[in-house]
Symmetry: C2
Subunit: 306 residues, 2 copies
Amino acid sequence: LRVAPFNRAVAGEQDFLAWITPRQKPGGLVERAAGDDLAVLRWPGDELLLAGVDQVLDTVHFDSRIHSPRDIGRKAMNRNLSDCAAMAALPAAALATVALPAGAGLEYAKELYLGIEQAGAAFDCPLVGGDTGSWAGKLAVTVTIFGRSAGVRPITRGSAQPGDTVYVTGALGGSLLGRHMNFEPRVHLARQLAQSARLSSMIDLSDGLSRDLRNICRCSGVGAILDADAIPIHPDAVITAKDGRTPLEHALHDGEDYELLLTCPLPVIPLPGLYKIGVITADTGIFLRDGTAQKPLEPLAWEHPL
Amino acid sequence: LRVAPFNRAVAGEQDFLAWITPRQKPGGLVERAAGDDLAVLRWPGDELLLAGVDQVLDTVHFDSRIHSPRDIGRKAMNRNLSDCAAMAALPAAALATVALPAGAGLEYAKELYLGIEQAGAAFDCPLVGGDTGSWAGKLAVTVTIFGRSAGVRPITRGSAQPGDTVYVTGALGGSLLGRHMNFEPRVHLARQLAQSARLSSMIDLSDGLSRDLRNICRCSGVGAILDADAIPIHPDAVITAKDGRTPLEHALHDGEDYELLLTCPLPVIPLPGLYKIGVITADTGIFLRDGTAQKPLEPLAWEHPL
C-alpha cells in the first residue's frame, strides 16, 4: 500500500512561477499567456495551425556536464523552430516543459528558460506556457511549437516527384564539434524558398542526410541519386574525419546539421546558398554516384535499442 | 573534443513509427496528422485555441515499478484533459512526447502510447503527433493538449469575486491509494457547468485543495473561508488517515484529486454532484471554519527543492 505523496509542488516552484509569469505576456495571437491551466490563443481563421513537439535529453542531445543551461534551452527551442522551417511555417508561439534534476536550483531553471525564450524571441515566437517539475532523474527539455501558414502552403515530405532536383541549404557534417548546439534555424530561408519556387518536399536535417533523404523518399514513394562531388562538406567534417571515416561520410551520415533538404521541379532555384546535390528518381532505391560508380546509400547510424 | 554521436535514431524507432503513423489519421480539425515535422490543423476562426502541456515523471507522478505503461500513458493524457476541464474547454487534439529508458522495448512503448491514445479517444481527442526517444534516464511522458472554446468562454483562475460560493465536484483525499492513476477528467461536467451558470473561476485539483484554492485567491486578489463540515471526504482519505493525519487533513492537502474547484455568484448551482464548501471574501486570507473556530488554512505539502 503506497501512500507516499507523488505529486508535490516543489520549494522554489512558487519563486520560479513568480519570476516566469510576468515574462509571458498577451499580444499578437496570445489572448492570455501563462497563469491558468492553459494558454488562450486566437488563431486567424484563414491560417493553418502547424503544431509539433520535440524533446532534448541529457546525454542524447546534449551533455549537461559540458553544455550550459542557456545553450541547452536554446537548442530545445531551435530544434522546434527548425521543424517550422522544414514545413515553411512561421513560428507563432511555444510551450516549454522541463524535467529538472532535484537540486539543480532556481538559477539553473531560469537560465534554461532564458535560453528557450531568447531563441524563440529571435523569431517572434513567444513562450505562452509550460510545465516545470523536478525529479530524481536527468534533465529533459521539451518544447511544443505552434506555427502558422501565413500565406505559404505547408511543405510536406510526401510530394517529391521523379525528375525533381534535390537541394541542401548548407554544408554538412561534424556538427558534434559544436554546431549542433548553436545552429540557426532556417525559418526565413524556408519561407523565402517556398514563396519563390514550387517546392515539392522539404525536411530539416536532424538525423543526417542519408536518413532524412530516405524519409522523404519513403513518404513520396520515390528514390534518389546523389552526386558525391556535389555534397557540400563542412570544415568540421574534415576535422572529425580523424576517426577514420571520410569527410564525405560525415557529411552524409552525421546528423544534427539543421540545414534544409528540399526537392523542386526547377533545376535551378535563383537563391544564394543552395546546393544542388542530386535528383529524384521513380526507382525507389537511394544511390550515391561517385564519378562513374554508383552504389546504394545506406543510412549509417549508431543504433541503440528502444 | 567530443565527437561521439548524440542524436541517433534508435533501433526499433522505425518499427515504432511504422506502427504509430497509420494510427494517426486526418479528420475533424486535423488536415494532416503525424508523418511530417509538424501536424497540420485547421482551426475554426470563431473559436479560441487553448493550449497547454503537462508531464508525468517516474517516481514523482507514478512509479514505473508498480504502474503499467498503459496506466501511465492514461494518466499523462487524463491530466491534460483535466486541464481542459479546468477552463471548460473541449479537448480537440494532442501531441505525445516520451523519454523512454533504454531497453524498455517496443511493446512497452506501444502500451504507453495506447494508454495515451485511449484516454484521449474517450473525449474525441486524437493524437496528431509527438516525439519518442530513448535515453539512459527514467521514464518521462509529456502530453500537449489543444482545446477549443466551442461556444463556451474559457474560465480562468482570476475572476473570483467576494461573496461568490466555492464548490468542488467530488470527494477529496487519499487519491494516492490509486485514484490518482485512474481518475476521470471532469470535461463534460465542466462544460455543462459553464453553460448553465456564470462561473467566476475554476481550477482542477492537482496540488490539493489548500494549494489550488490559494492559487485562485492569489490570481483573483481575494480570500476565502471554507467550512470544515462541508468538505466532502473520500473513503480513501479515511483509510490513509492511519498515518496520523485526519481524513479532513488528507482531503484538504493530499492533491491529485482531479476534481474541479470553482466559484460562482449563485449560492446554488442546479446540478447534482456539486459540493458547496465555502465562500470567497474580500479579505485575502484563507481560513477554515470549524464550528465556531476559524483558523488560517495553510497549504501543507511535502516540499523538495528545485
